[in-house]
């Protein structure tokens, strides 16, 4: 398997606060990787560093071997790395359909994801297409956020806490779309606090604590005890 995306000794800092201490992760082509960990473990910071929202040293993030750590977010996205940001972050001035269209507007590559394909994946969005994006329920907003990222036909899809603040039944509906997203050819990194959902869809898991990777392994074989220890530390 070829490595699509890699972080090498990734560090990140907010002012005086250091959020990441040399994080190494890999994403192989066709793979779904889950990054789990408690609040403040550095999961979202990791995604923000990969996407260019936080700027790093160039060699700390490699995409197909090319250093991209210092690229701004728009140039990272142009390489086919799309993000579903934490908290959905729909554009309030745009309708549902416009929110979807803007996802594919700057990177026009042929691929499986079109407006129609996204509406087939989440049929409720077709009915609500002319509503303001922010007038939808939380779950529907999350569907828009995922669809918006898919519209650029990304090679790599990064999902930040897509279950956050949603009812279990809604989370199940959203995760039900994951197999189709994987089948479309995208490699996926899921950042999650909901370990159960993450383990169900992921091939491999990284567990983070206090800015470091504390555990990694195949999702199918990793033990709950090991995750528990990696999640909360030895004292737990």
């Amino acid at each position: 398997m070829s490595i699509l995306l890699q972080t090498i000794g990734l560090t990140a800092q907010y002012g005086d606060f250091r959020a990441l201490f040399g994080v190494d992760i890999e994403l192989n082509a066709g793979e779904t990787v889950a990054i789990i960990g408690a609040n403040g473990a550095g999961k979202s910071t990791l995604l923000r560093s990969i996407t260019g929202v936080l700027v790093n040293a160039p060699e700390q993030v490699l995409h197909r071997g090319t250093p991209i750590g210092a690229l701004p977010a728009d140039q990272v996205m142009a390489r086919g790395i799309a993000m579903v940001p934490e908290g959905r972050k729909l554009f309030p001035s745009l309708t549902v359909e416009e929110n979807l269209l803007i996802g594919g507007q700057m990177r026009r590559v042929a691929g499986p994801w079109t407006l129609e394909a996204v509406y087939d994946l989440f049929p409720i969005l077709r009915e609500r297409r002319l509503n303001p994006g922010t007038a939808l329920s939380g779950g529907q907003q999350q569907m828009v956020a995922i669809g918006r990222a898919l519209m650029s036909n990304p090679e790599i899809l990064l999902c930040d806490e897509i279950s956050l603040g949603l009812a279990p039944v809604v989370i199940r509906d959203i995760y039900a779309a994951m197999p189709r997203i994987k089948a479309s050819g995208a490699s996926v990194i899921i950042v999650e606090q909901d370990i159960g959902q993450a383990l169900r869809v992921a091939d491999r898991v990284y567990c983070m604590m206090e800015g470091r990777v504390t555990l990694t392994g195949a999702a199918a074989t990793i033990s709950r005890e090991a995750i528990h220890t990696a999640y909360f530390g030895d004292a737990a």
């Binding site: 929202v53 728009d74 996205m77 269209l101 507007q105 700057m106 650029s152």
Partner: protein, 287 residues
């Protein structure tokens, strides 16, 4: 009958104020950038038009086709090189920088064109009028108003019907998330200011043809533009037109009562609207 005439003249005058204000409204709507040099940029564009008209003898309506791309480029460069650096959580830097720009522009124009007042010659159009039965209107004020409506319609079409407009609105909502969509906010803002300068050029065309101008009149145009934008509701283009019309009507009615009251009546209308609707007539829901 005189009141109908006053009302019509006021509405038409409002078109000119709306043109002054549309560029300001556009920049504020997209970037939350209050451009204190807006009036001076209108004057700069008026001098550019004057130079083109006097040097080549072309009609001002032709000259505007050359001046508009030049002003677009100036706006694009200004935003890219200077104003983008001032944007952020603090609202003070853009105010200070555009205030400085205003002073620089006024002095540069004074140096280049002296303090003499000038006018863009428009030929017979300047005095042409139309008899509409009840009232007689000047062709120039009518053209100004129709152009203002056209500019507002055009900007609304760009905003709500094009991919560029989508990028404007998205970047205005949330520049960081917009960058995750592959949008470069700095570039989008530069295009927005370029577009605002095209509108400024159109405003300058009518300013220069309808009245005398000199390097120092920018700030007074800025006040009318500000009032129109604020009456209309920040960032609302149709609101800006309505704001311009309210100031125009207030001024003509004020002048009809007593010529000394013209300017004051416009400002009073501004205060009254703000007392009744502090957020303007058509505030955006998400502001």
């Amino acid at each position: 009958m005189i009141w109908i005439d006053t009302l019509v003249q006021g509405i038409l005058l409002g078109g000119l104020y709306a043109l002054f204000a549309a560029g300001l409204s556009l920049m504020f709507g997209i970037m939350r950038l209050v451009n204190l040099a807006h009036g001076d940029l209108i004057v700069l564009a008026a001098y550019l038009l004057l130079v083109l008209v006097t040097m080549t003898g072309m009609h001002p309506f032709v000259a505007v086709l050359i001046a508009a791309p030049v002003m677009f480029a100036i706006g694009w460069g200004l935003q890219r090189v200077v104003l983008n650096r001032t944007l952020g959580k603090d609202i003070l830097p853009p105010l200070l920088v555009t205030f400085g720009l205003s002073v620089v522009l006024q002095n540069a124009l004074l140096e280049g064109f002296t303090a003499d007042s000038r006018r863009i010659p428009a030929g017979p159009l300047e005095t042409a009028s139309l008899d509409l039965g009840v009232v007689t209107v000047g062709v120039m004020p009518l053209l100004t108003f129709l152009t203002a409506v056209g500019v507002i319609i055009g900007l609304n079409q760009i905003f709500y019907r094009t991919a560029l407009g989508r990028a404007f609105r998205a970047t205005s909502d949330d520049p960081v998330t917009a960058s995750l969509m592959g949008i470069n906010p700095g570039r989008v803002f530069a295009v927005a200011t370029g577009l605002a300068m095209v509108v400024v050029t159109i405003a300058a065309l009518y300013l220069g043809m309808r009245s005398n101008f000199d390097p120092s009149i920018g700030p007074a145009r800025l006040i009318y533009a500000f009032e129109a934008v604020i009456i209309g509701g920040l960032g609302s283009l149709w609101g800006t037109l309505a704001g311009g019309v309210i100031i125009g009507v207030a001024q003509t009615f004020g002048a009809a009562i007593n010529p000394e009251w013209q300017i004051l009546a416009g400002h009073i209308a501004f205060v009254v609207v703000l007392l009744i609707r502090p957020r303007g007539l058509f505030p955006r829901a998400n502001d």
